[in-house]
Point group: C3
Chain length 132, copies 3
């Protein structure tokens, strides 16, 4: 089963908690056990899993990433967003999450994040569910 | 099939070779062909695949990561482990490995590692096996 | 279904677009819907998904990665390629891609890349296809 979810990002760099969005689709699918692939079809965004309790963690992650992959004048790509392409590959285009008893099986402190590195933009998430 | 494996980490940062642990569970499952999702439910740990021959590689990986995502006093998160949250997202919460002939199909020099970035702690690994 | 694809890399560091190689195998498999795991069995290479329009993006990615994980004389591993092992874990050993209507379902600007970080070498890619 393949589901497309739309999303708007409001800044150049932001992490958006999409855990409930994904869980709602899993519930609607009526699939009780399997795996879900959460995938971004864009090249300057990523999907990650990290802490969902203290929002400061997201702020720190974006701050840390900015130091790891800064904007550089020496990059060749004319759009000036090569730092964002690198961040996308560092965090990855997708995450796999277990489905158990009809919902995502995440750790106590885990949430799923859509990571925007070159917004604001209209974005899509593709969710593929594989049954056991 | 979903399996939980317990693990203790002995330092703040360590890579633990879990290849045999995972392979033992694959063998017990009697599943001969498919894919396995090796997943950490924690937010300051990761799963990676890398060289299993020279232990110096693990030492170098942790040293390199410390330079890539250093501890910073400018981070906001009160627990002081934002560097570890970033390392977790850089390496990723999970790895997918092919199952063939009832065991993991890894490259000659590949091993699977549980990566602890904010230990020592009691940790869990979730292993989900999807049959062909 | 498991497929092995051979590849030669021509430099120490290069990104090779393997999208068509993978799509050709998907078509041959006659599997119309599912997921594909594109996996490298080597420890100094990776698989990523990024922009396939402007080749400058690949040049910038390799340049950025060189700054993120530089060669260091303080590394212990005797082969002198610890920077490449780190790059491999940062980008990841595999990518999952949705299969729809008998082909890869990628974003408009996405291509799949084999990433060599310690070539030139003879390399392999493993492609595992899981049906819906």
């Amino acid at each position: 089963m393949l589901i497309e979810i739309g999303l708007k990002t409001s800044k150049r760099e932001i992490l958006i908690d999409i855990t409930n969005l994904i869980n709602d689709e899993i519930k609607k699918s009526k699939i009780s056990s399997g795996i879900s692939l959460v995938y971004t079809p864009h090249t300057t965004s990523a999907i990650t899993i990290n802490e969902n309790a203290d929002p400061d963690v997201c702020t720190d992650i974006l701050k840390g990433l900015k130091d790891i992959s800064p904007v550089k004048s020496s990059y060749l790509h004319g759009e000036g967003n090569s730092d964002a392409h690198i961040k996308a590959s560092l965090f990855g285009m997708s995450q796999m999450i277990i489905i158990e008893e009809g919902r995502l099986k995440l750790g106590t402190w885990q949430g799923i994040y859509f990571c925007e590195f070159d917004g604001p933009r209209n974005r899509k998430i593709w969710l593929k569910i594989i049954k056991d």
